[in-house]
């Protein structure tokens, strides 16, 4: 009986959790006139026209292409730069290491709003405004510290004896790192990639500031649905549903590690 009560509670919670998303799905399958005319718990006359419109209009689907481009770029930059740094933090003491780690942390906690105007000016000055590179680089501000942190947590879980044995066996540091160490922490690498992907994907403020037309992310394109006749709720909902898809796909692969990632590799 006890177990059943628990499960029941969980099911109720999951239903409440899914309701707002379901409601958006419901909206996305209806036409705007239908949405405005009556409240329906499920689409009586489901139509995919909102989705068709998004997939056939470059102004819309390029938003997804742009988002995925800079998010991927950001994830790659973060992993490449953070892997050696995290190794350094987990294995060595060096002058200023604690201060450096704290300084990195402050950037994860910095209010993005503070950086808006300077970022705009900085990236305009170096002529990178409205490129994927600009957004990818800007997102390293919060993703790199996070990546170093998570990876450091995972790396500290690997015994040092493994490093020492490998070095005695004649491995050089780079060779050991690529052929032995990275495979050992592949779960950590996966989780880190996922987190970089996720935080870059959900961020809007920088992405909006640093793009004009060419690299505009989908989250910004979504603000287009306001027209003379008011908001096109159906289209807005469909665009919103499509932004959930990439996350929902990748989350399945890291489901058992996601909490460890949030705990910065320290569970």
């Amino acid at each position: 009986m006890r177990i059943q009560m628990r499960t029941l509670g969980l099911i109720v919670y999951l239903i409440v959790l899914m309701l707002p998303i379901y409601w958006m799905l419901n909206m996305s399958l209806r036409e705007n006139t239908d949405i405005m005319s009556r409240l329906a718990l499920f689409p009586h006359d489901p139509t995919f026209q909102n989705y068709v419109k998004i997939f056939t209009d470059p102004g819309w689907y390029m938003g997804y292409v742009n988002s995925i481009s800079y998010v991927t770029m950001n994830t790659v930059i973060c992993l490449v730069a953070a892997l050696p740094a995290a190794y350094a933090f987990s294995r060595f003491r060096f002058i200023g290491d604690k201060h450096l780690f704290f300084w990195l942390l402050t950037n994860r906690m910095a209010p993005p709003a503070v950086f808006l105007v300077p970022f705009f000016q900085l990236y305009t000055t170096i002529g990178m405004l409205d490129t994927y590179t600009a957004v990818a680089l800007a997102h390293t501000l919060f993703n790199l510290p996070l990546a170093v942190w998570i990876l450091e947590g995972f790396m500290s879980g690997v015994p040092r004896q493994i490093d020492e044995t490998a070095f005695i066996d004649g491995y050089s540091l780079p060779r050991f790192f690529v052929t032995v160490f990275i495979p050992l922490i592949r779960a950590g690498v996966g989780v880190t990639a996922f987190f970089c992907f996720m935080f870059s994907w959900v961020e809007l403020l920088f992405a909006r500031t640093l793009t004009v037309t060419q690299a505009k992310p989908i989250a910004v394109v979504m603000t287009r649905t306001v027209s003379a006749s008011g908001l096109d709720w159906g289209l807005l909902a469909a665009a919103g549903m499509l932004t959930i898809v990439p996350g929902a796909l990748v989350i399945y692969f890291v489901r058992n590690y996601i909490a460890k990632g949030f705990a910065l590799g320290r569970v």
């Binding site: 718990l41 993005p112 709003a113 501000l141 790199l144 989250a219 959930i244 399945y252």
Partner: protein
């Protein structure tokens, strides 16, 4: 674990340092530069010293926003932490299809772009087309119109925030629970411990480390919140849901008052820095204190 002293490790850290420095030190210095000048246009600027700081510190709207921010972050913690722990306790302890499904569903809100979170709730709360808005208005008979009634705007923002981030607390607490060996529960059963005793003396202490991280992450991130309430309420009605970031962006890009925005940014950043320091201390202790 003893680490070797080796300053060549700096070479490994260098790429990260350069990238982050590029993105943080240059912009921060720019902000400092703005905060001590009165800028009319790029050619005409006057050095004003600490004038903007004095103005911003005595600015009642900034003080209001700051208090609002603390109340908001406090409420977030008070609601999300117990709720998250409660949810984690109901989750199945053994792995299987049900567990995987639960994990994926719970994590889903965390992966939705923040402005889409706002959009979801705008759609969900509209009195005419939203399920919840319609339900409250028609079925419960309460007049619900969050864009015009401050208290309802607050409730709406809180609902959205709790919906969005409680899963994070639940996931962390769940990971803490999973790390408890079965032997602990068996021992408790032999001792005839009650559910409550098990929670208080086994589960809660074992969750301490992750809960600490959850508290601090939630505090920090709710302190920086911008996009979700901006989409949902735009900071209104009036200024009732104008949190620090919303107010800052209003000054910086709305009024384009760079001097005051700069001073505001530095004050904001210093507050964050103070909290980050506490965060760092607690976290490094949690990391070394409870190694399993």
């Amino acid at each position: 674990m003893l680490k070797t002293m080796d300053n060549r490790a700096w070479i490994l850290v260098l790429p990260v340092v350069l990238l982050v420095a590029y993105n943080s030190i240059i912009p921060l210095m720019t902000v400092v530069n703005y905060s001590v000048q009165d800028i009319f246009d790029p050619a005409h600027r006057i050095f004003v010293g600490t004038e903007w700081y004095r103005q911003m510190l005595h600015n009642s709207r900034l003080q209001d926003a700051l208090w609002r921010q603390f109340v908001f972050s406090g409420l977030v913690l008070l609601i999300e932490i117990p709720l998250g722990v409660a949810i984690a306790l109901t989750m199945p302890r053994k792995s299987g299809f049900g567990t995987s499904l639960t994990l994926v569903l719970i994590a889903l809100p965390l992966l939705i772009p923040w402005n889409v979170i706002g959009t979801i709730w705008v759609i969900f709360l509209r009195p005419d087309i939203g399920l919840l808005g319609h339900f409250i208005n028609q079925t419960l008979g309460i007049h619900f119109d969050y864009p015009t009634v401050p208290i309802q705007a607050w409730i709406s923002v809180m609902m959205m925030e709790v919906w969005h981030w409680t899963p994070l607390v639940a996931l962390l607490a769940y990971a803490g629970l999973r790390s408890i060996p079965d032997a602990y529960y068996q021992a408790a059963r032999i001792d005839g411990a009650s559910k409550w005793a098990v929670f208080l003396y086994i589960q809660l202490p074992k969750m301490r480390g992750v809960l600490m991280i959850a508290v601090l992450l939630r505090f920090m991130d709710s302190f920086l919140i911008y996009t979700e309430p901006f989409v949902l309420t735009g900071g209104g009605p009036g200024n009732s849901t104008t949190f620090l970031s919303i107010y800052l962006v209003k000054i910086a890009t709305g009024e384009f008052d760079l001097g005051r925005a700069g001073a505001f940014s530095i004050i904001y950043f210093l507050i964050i820095l103070a909290f980050s320091y506490v965060f760092y201390q607690v976290l490094t202790r949690a990391g070394t204190g409870e190694q399993r």
